[in-house]
Symmetry: C2
Subunit: 528 residues, 2 copies
């Protein structure tokens, strides 16, 4: 039964075939988060809701998102997600929703939730694969015309297939997507839609999100903040962290005709003065040259010079954290902890010159942690640009950073079983997800460092709280022992002395005991 | 400083840009395994070596792979990987190495190491990004002409850029790729190149791999097996596990003009008789229809019918496991364990009708486990189609399956610190990696089940070994106590009886004690 050996030429003639990114993900839907019916359900909601929130942010309105999950049969649902955002112009609908990597946000240096141009098309592909039913998009850019499109994706071509596109007059702005899916399940629980939406609302207190559950239940997460968070600015890359190839890539995209002005215009924190400093260090590069002619070696010389020049830290108006106040407020409201601490680090840079920032919130006791019957275990809530990450915890830098902390140092002996909730939000114009499914963050060195610093900082605050608690407890115990014997001792003393009353002696002794207890504490602190 | 709000139309006109898969991965190189200098180094070797082994397998020769790592400066290396495989015809060189998703293997149902058409191009992209130096390919299909190409990839177009392509006469077959990389580091250690190659050699004992290390050291892993493993056959999808959309996709690709013959020709285990059974269950589908006209609803009816019909399990000649004998041999040679067990499961199916198979090897004590100074901890070696997986352990189904086992049941109280090595190999015509970096396997239900079954099976064997060890220990103790008193008792007895010598009495008593001890054991066994 030996198979005929093919020659190399025959082999390629027979087996060679190019494919496209939609086909690639069609075979690897799990890479986009479509593995298992519960996860697939949450992934769909996640893709449409993040797009909705981004669309609102782009147009500067308070987001009102309506999520409807209607069940048609076993593992058979219709999902609708509506936003009051930007709206999609008619001519862009097909490409935007029917072609992978035709996103608008992919190449921009701006903090947004979606960033790949893959997510929504992936969800539409999953609808196509599981039901074959086209999706429906209703959208308007607010100019008096509402467009409805019925469309599908041709996976083999990575191209949209439009069945119908009609317009009516009407005053509304926003987008609604309705699609049918099979092989998904609506389920409560930590990785289900309800919890996903709840966490989204927590991290986006300016948004109102209404969830229509399949059982007819309507849950409204009303905005608890009446102001839009400040708008993240589109940023230029910071010279720190860019590679030689990044510089060449930016140079090719630049309209400047001189290297010096290109550097000024294409990077943040590079002034004419800084260009001079760079030029002094990259002596063999002619700074009046056409940036498009830049060789890799010249770009390397510039990057080397970048490393020796001092630049101002990346701008803070490019990154918009949730903010200490808001995080504190939600920790207090939701977890009613005995203690909490919030740490917001300054923006930092990882490779590619991409700025990012870490926020950590830590809540202890009260309703913090996860309760399983009588036991409590620690809880970690991960966010990226205010989007909850509920899957792939094991492969995520946030989890890895938390596990790398010696919590014992902060008086948490057994972190896994402590009544503690740790929330971590990473903000960036480009979050380095480990895969297109966007559920775990890659452990870039700079990100790991910042995560650890923030966690340790929050840990230190917890420690001084716990030291206080421990101190109080010790003092109380010590005092209780002394105090137990005070009346007896006092009675003997009063009998012996005769002059002072028993009551006076007790009072004196108590005072003495209290002052001694305090002196002992000060000593303990020094050892601590 | 309020930014001007853009209308939706202006927004799209300004911000909209399509991109391609090479650009996508250019911004997300970490998704391909390029994060950190050690990992990046191993990833490059991994991509070229797996391609080399596949090329040898395609042509049916014993693989001879030469890996050369030469250091030019700090984090600056030249890497060369040579195989004696298929060779690439001249006209295919540019596309195959200069275009992402132009792989040959992507769409085939065959067990191979590479499968995405992304890996090697990704490595070439990393060379381009970090050095800007084009790569060199020397290749020959064995027809007397050796071609050398100097080329690069144009990431913006996802197209090759050929600088030079020349041919000379010469008798040789194979491919050699030489490329320069920066931002990588050669380092020993569990995730370094040496260990990666060592594990590759272990799982591919028919291959000879020579590693030229940067310090001039030459390591040769000679083949320990003189026979090629049987060649995996290209398989048709199994009807179990395919979705309606899979059926439509296959139907569109089929040349058959009738649904019935399409089903016979495009699936494994579907005979004319089975088609009749299917047709009986999918009553409203006309089995003489053109398969290209199949609707999603009709395809669903066929898939429903698939579920009710009994099919023979997937063919075993499509999947080629390492084999119990070979795994046993390497466990014994390398780890010299006190005990080992090897389990090979039968092939099973996961979604898409894709067959897969699990092999587990388990070694206990001897040199099993990982030693850290005086302490030992457990060690897990993961493989996929004989390729070692050394990163992303946390997110991998194999690790998750191992962690989900209650090892206590198998007499391993503390798995993490046990002197145990677990090797797991998953074989499939399409391994569901969690990301394009191919280092972790997605936790598909069917795969998790098979992993757990295999591990529990190996665990049971270990348990009976450990029970035996425990039993032996107890028996020895018991016997020692009895035997301690035998001479004394014997002496008294001999005095009393007078007739027998002391020596005879001891012999009798010892015999008695041994038989009693054995009886006691049998009883213990029943309780165990």
């Amino acid at each position: 039964m030996k198979e005929k050996e093919l020659s190399s030429e025959e082999f390629f003639a027979e087996k060679y075939r190019e494919s496209n990114i939609a086909e690639f993900f069609r075979r690897n839907m799990h890479m986009l988060g479509y593995s298992g019916p519960v996860r697939s359900m949450t992934t769909i909601i996640h893709e449409f809701v993040t797009n909705g929130l981004d669309a609102c942010e782009e147009v500067g309105v308070m987001p009102k998102i309506i999520v409807e999950v209607r069940q048609l049969g076993d593992r058979d649902y219709v999902i609708g997600v509506e936003d009051n955002g930007l709206g999609i112009p008619e001519s862009y609908i097909p490409r935007l929703l029917g072609t992978m990597l035709a996103g608008t946000k992919f190449h921009r240096y701006i903090q947004s939730r979606g960033q790949q141009g893959i997510g929504a098309v992936g969800a539409i592909m999953y609808s196509h694969i599981t039901t074959g039913v086209p999706i429906k998009i209703i959208t308007s850019t607010g100019k008096g015309k509402i467009t409805t499109a019925v469309m599908d994706i041709d996976i083999k071509k990575n191209k949209p297939h439009i069945f119908e596109m009609t317009s009516v007059k009407g005053k509304w702005q926003g987008t609604k997507i309705v699609a049918r899916f099979k092989d998904i399940v609506y389920q409560k629980g930590e990785q289900g839609v309800y919890e996903y939406i709840r966490r989204t609302a927590t991290a986006n207190p300016h948004a109102t999100i209404t969830l229509l559950e399949p059982d007819g239940n309507v849950v409204k997460f009303k905005n608890s903040v009446n102001k839009l968070p400040s708008r993240p600015k589109e940023m230029l890359p910071h010279p720190r962290g860019v590679s030689a190839d990044d510089v060449r890539l930016f140079a090719l995209a630049s309209e400047q005709r001189k290297l010096s002005t290109f550097l000024e215009k294409s990077f943040s924190r590079i002034s004419a003065q800084k260009v001079k400093e760079i030029a002094k260090r990259a002596k063999y590069v002619d700074f009046s040259m056409d940036p498009k002619e830049l060789t890799h070696q010249q770009a390397e010389a510039i990057v080397r010079a970048f490393k020796d020049v001092r630049f101002i830290a990346p701008s803070t108006n490019g990154l918009v954290p949730i903010g200490e106040e808001t995080i504190e407020k939600s920790l207090k409201e939701i977890l009613k902890p005995d203690f909490y601490s919030v740490v917001t680090r300054s923006p930092a840079i990882y490779r590619g010159g991409i700025p990012f920032q870490i926020e950590v919130g830590l809540a202890y006791e009260g309703q913090a942690g996860r309760s399983k019957g009588k036991d409590t275990s620690s809880e970690v809530m991960r966010f990226a640009n205010r989007v909850p990450l509920v899957f792939d915890a094991g492969g995520c830098a946030i989890t890895q950073a938390i596990n790398s902390i010696e919590w014992r140092r902060y008086h948490i002996g057994d972190f896994d079983n402590a009544p503690i909730t740790v929330t971590v939000n990473i903000i960036s114009s480009h979050i380095p997800y480990t895969s297109a499914g966007k559920q775990a963050i890659s452990g870039e060195d700079e990100i790991m460092n910042e995560l650890r610093f923030a966690l340790m900082d929050a840990g230190r605050k917890l420690k001084s709280h716990l030291s206080g608690v421990r101190r109080d407890k010790l003092r109380d115990e010590r005092r209780a022992i002394f105090e137990k014997y005070i009346p007896e001792v006092a009675e003997s003393l009063s009998k012996l002395s005769g002059s002072a009353t028993k009551k006076e002696i007790i009072k004196h002794l108590e005072k003495f005991v209290k002052s001694r207890a305090r002196a002992k504490e000060d000593k303990d602190d020094k050892i601590d």
